[in-house]
Structures are given as structure tokens and as C-alpha cells.
Amino acid sequence: MYKVLRLFLTVLLFGIVTGCGDQRILEKLGLIQTTSYDIAPGSDEDESKQKLLISVTIPRPDSGTGTGSGGVNREFLTAIAQTSKGGRVNLSRQTELQLVSGQLRNTLFGLSLAKQGIWEHIDTLVRDPSISPKVKITVVNGNAHDLLAKNYPFHPRTGQYIDRMLEKESHSQVVPSTTLYQFTKDYFDDGIDPIAPMIKEAGDNVKIDGVALFQKDRYIMKIEPKQALIFAMMRTDIKQGDLNVDLSGQNRNNEHVTLSSLVSHRSVHVTPHNGNFRVDINIKVSGSVLEYIGVLDLENDKDRSTIEKLVSEYVQANANEMIAVMQKNRVDSLGLGKNIRSTLHYAQWHKMNWPDTYQRIEVKFHVNVRIKDYGMFTK
């Protein structure tokens, strides 16, 4: 009796486990790699009536000819819809593949949409369990759909090209690596505002176009690419980077220094000051000078310390300029609110209107640049 029952159960078990209810056959899947969001052209002025232009790119090694963007081995789908998941249904109607987002790497937001706020789209992404928290968020200076639709003949297929470029650039700190996790974290934190890398189309290439600064989820201003590294130093510790310094601002015309293998460390000190706050940000930078064009002599200790001083001044001047604009625009991209919050009681912090206080606080940068070495060849 038992044996019969056991046999029956075993057979039933096999029947069930090989039932294969949830099949995922790779060839039948459309693995979305990049998604772009824009306001649909010709949309209403009224934000609530606006439609969304959604595009996705799916790598298709089996379609098209040749390699790289020139060979168009990708599928590019576009739809106009009210919501992003609604757009997904619309996109699905245009392909024989089952669209899945498990391999999504990057989401591009057009500038005009970013100016209106992107949280509701990000909310859809963080809700979806198949989407990784490491998906990148990128702002396109211009139209995200156009940038993604275009094929760049000298590069890998567009989605991959942008993804790899951002990966590389964020490694060297030129742009932040903003992921869904990071954006959501900063969006919900009352002591910091999110940031994201910005890119734009430049002929046959896509170019890094600085850093987009948000207030909550709305794009407010950007940091120019040439200031991006200094911005990174103001914000966090840097482990690798190259800084190009034009010393003409320090009254030394036609003098240029390039600091390579740059490492920086930042520390923040908050002191209450006449009912306001004074924030001192110390930045310690060290790097090698592999290029110097000017009248000073790198081998001379005194001249080298002059260069150190000049570069420090340069960094400090840029930092001061950036923080002034950020304070004017009420974007706390450096997260100074977090530091100030740490010194306060709960009631004090909540009584204070942080964005207003932020405009008034006094921020001082103290930059100390050290030249570690100056190459393997003397003049």
C-alpha cells in the first residue's frame, strides 16, 4: 500500500517539476538594454495631459549585418503612451520577442522631461523586481530618443556604447555613477539632492556633457565637464582622476599643469556660527605631474611648492564658484545637509527649513595639493 502511494507521489512529483510553467527561452526573449524617456513631441503644455515617448533598444546579434552600430545588430522600438509600463505593452506589439527588463543597464531621460521631474518613472523601475538596483540613470542634454535612435558608425551598438562609456568615465570620477539605488537613496534623504551624469549627441559620437544636478527629482542645473572632477572632489573621495589646470586665472598666462593619478580625500566640519552654520570642507589632493608648460622648474622644491599652491588656488576658486551657483539654485548636491543634520537634535533639524538655510550657510573650501612625483625624465 505504502509502496503504491510512494510510487504515485514520485510520479506526480516528476510530473510537476518538469511541468515548466515559467519558461524563459533565450532566443525568444527581447533583453532590453537601454530605455529612453522623453515628453512626446506635440504634447500638451499641461503636465498631467502630456504623453511619454518611450524607446528601447534590444541587442540582436542575429539581425543586420556586420558589427558595430554601422551593422545595426539591434532592435529599436518606440511607443507613445501615458505611462511607462503602458508603453511597454505598446512596444511589445511591435516585436516577436518577449520583452524582459532583467538585463536593463541604462535609462536615459530627455532634458525637458528631467526638468519636470522623473520620480514617477523611477518609481516604476524600483518597483519591478526584475530590474537591478544598479541600472544607471542618465540625463540627455537634448532628446533622449534621438540620441538612442541614432547609430554611431565607429562605435559598438548604441546602448552598449553609452553604457560602457559611462562605466569608464565614472571609474575615473569625471561623472558620478548614478544608479537606481543611489538616486532613490538621495531622493528620499532630506539632507542631499540627487545628481546624474549628462550626455549629449556630438556628430558621430556621444559625449559626456557634465553632471546634472537635481532638486528632489527635478533637473535644475549642470556642472560643466571641465569642472566635473573638481565637483567630484567636493563631493567625495577620489581614487583616480586626471586634472587639467589652466593657470591663467591665477595671473599666470600660458601655464598649464596636468595632474595624473589623482587621489583626493575630503572631510567636512560643521560649526554653528551666529545662528547660522559654517561648513569647512578640507580637500587633500595628491597626484603626479606628468605635464607642465610654463616658466617654473619642476625639480626645484620651491617652484614645485609654488605649483602646488597655484593648483590649490585653482581648485579652490572653481569650488567656490560652483558652490555659489548651487546655493543660489538651492540644490544641495554635496549633501551638506547630511553633515549639518549630524550635529543637530531632531527637533532643531525639522524646525529648520533646510533648502532656505542652505542658501545662507557659509561654505569654505581648504584645498591642499601635493605633487607626489613629476615623472621619469628631467629637463
Binding site: G19, P129, S132, K134, D189, W349
Partner: protein, 359 residues
Amino acid sequence: MREKLHPFHVGLLVFMVQAGVVSIFLPRMLAQYMGYNGWVSLLLFSAVATFNIFLISVVYRLSDGKSIFQIIEQSLPKVIVFPLYTVLVSVWTLIGCIAAKQYILLFTVFVFPTTPPMYMKFLFDIIAYSLITKGIYNISKAATVFFWMVIWTALLLLFFLKGFEWVNLTPFFFKESSDVIVGGLSIFTAFLGYELVLLLFPYVNSKKGFMSAVYFGNFLTTFIYLAICLTCFGFYSFKQLTRMKFPLIDLLAYIRLPFVERVENIFIALYLVSALMSITMYIWAASETAQSLIPRASKRWITGVLVCGAFAVSWIPDVLSEVELWLKYLGYMASGIAFGLPLLLIAILAINNGGKKLV
């Protein structure tokens, strides 16, 4: 001679029964109910659990290794014993089956979104049934194996050292807490499971190490919970954490290894053994109680009936939020049992002994 449980196995068994599916939501619950730096309150919950274990240790000392059923049946009339046992059997069976259902539903959210959950629940119950019928000694051996399968994943938390920011913790303590009492009860259920050692008295070999092992199990649970929750509070911003449904899974999803990413699906599958252990032990406890209720019935049949009953009941709640609601109330009842049962036993033993050995 029947094989007896070694304290080491008891310790690991306690940990495996305690740490279950709840750890997936625990950081969010702490943020929601206990507010800023809610992770600190874990120490308080752990202290309450430790006190409860102390009560159990008093029972153990007074009982001289007798099973609690003997103690109860010797002193209480059948009219009281019968409903008491029925309550124990139903609460423990239900908590077992609903916790299993919760795990299965979670599993389907992430891994097999369109597979009917009851298929998987069926397979799950078959494993649980086979484990329970093998007896407590084999269950504890399985728990030890499962422990080593799961515990190393705690090392993955080291991955978050880089993203951890002390400044995210904020200097605020327990601000913006809500429903502290109700929420606290729900959080406390994360520690439940140790009360089942009441049923282990006849099965342990050494008098001395047994209770220390239970304390150790609880300590280990506290330590792992603290590690997970502290990581979450430092890695996520507070308001973000209150909105995350499954913080632990999000945490695992963030891990990217050079050769593979999105490893959370593998880990959810791995935590099956942890969930399995909680369910197995609860239904084992229920079947032990049922055995005392109907001494003539075969153990195998009792277990079979209970597992089938549990399977049938778990059809009823079919969405995650319903399951959570059921678990909430069952958790309250189980907490009541965890405290009430040892107190009752102490009272009985104190009266029987005339207060001789109480001190």
C-alpha cells in the same frame, strides 16, 4: 538507546528556527515602527527573548528532564488539558503553514512569477513531511547542515562596507516611530522559535549545556539580525528604507560579482532551507502535542494529517498582504504561548514541589 541532542546542535537548531523569512522585511519594519536608528531596538527585543528563555530554563531546572506534557497532564484536569493542547496544535500548525506560504509567495514574486504558488507549496510540504517523520534527532542534524549552507551568506554583508555611510544613520534615535506597540509585537515575532525548546526536554543529553545552547542560538540570531539591519540603515537613507518592501533582497540584488550579478535569486532559493526549518519545527511541535492529545494514534499519521491540514489552510490566503495579516495575528498568539506556557509550567511545578526548588 535513543540518540540524544547535543547542545551544539540545539544551538544551531534554535538559530535556524528563529531566523526565517522575517529577516527579509525586518530592516523595513524597524525603520517603519521604531523610526530613526530602529536597529538599536533589536537589543531590547533580544533582551525580552532572553528573559523568556530564562523562564524556560527555570521550567527545565524544575522539571528534571520530564516532558512538559507529563507535567501538565499530571496536574491539570482533562477539561483544561484538552483545549490547551488544541490551541497549541492549531497555532503551531498554522504558523508553520502560513510562514511557508509567505516564503513561497515571495519566491514566486522574484523567481517564478507565473507558476502557481500552491505547486511549490506542495513540494515544500513533502520535504517538510519527510523531515518531521524522521524525528527530532534527524531534524537537528538537517538543521546543522542547513546552517552551514546559509550562514556563510552573512559574509556577503562585507560587500557593503564600501557603500556604508555612518552619516546615513543620523544622530536621531527612535524619532518618527509609529505604532510602537503593535509594530514591536510584529518585530518580536522575528525572534520566536526558541519557545519550541520546551518540547526538547526529553531529547537532550547534557543537563548543563542545553540551556546555554539555547541562549547561544538566540545570541546568534540577534547578532545576524543586527548585522543585517545596521547594514541596511547605513546603506539606505531612512525614508527610503521605510518604503522598501524587501530590503534584504534589495541588498542582495546590489551585489555584483565579476562573473555574475543579480545573485539574489540564488540566495532566495538558498534561504528555502531556513524557511523549511522553521516550518518543520513548528509542525513537529504541533505533532508532538497532538500525539499527547491522542496517544494511540500513529505519529506518522498525525504528522500526515497536520501537514495536509496545513496545506489545505494555506489555500485560503492567496496574496502576500493577506498572508502577512494572518502571520501578524498568529505571531501574537505564538508570542502569548512563548510567555504563557513557561509561566503556566512554573506555576504547576512550584505548586507540586511546594516551592522547594524554585530558588
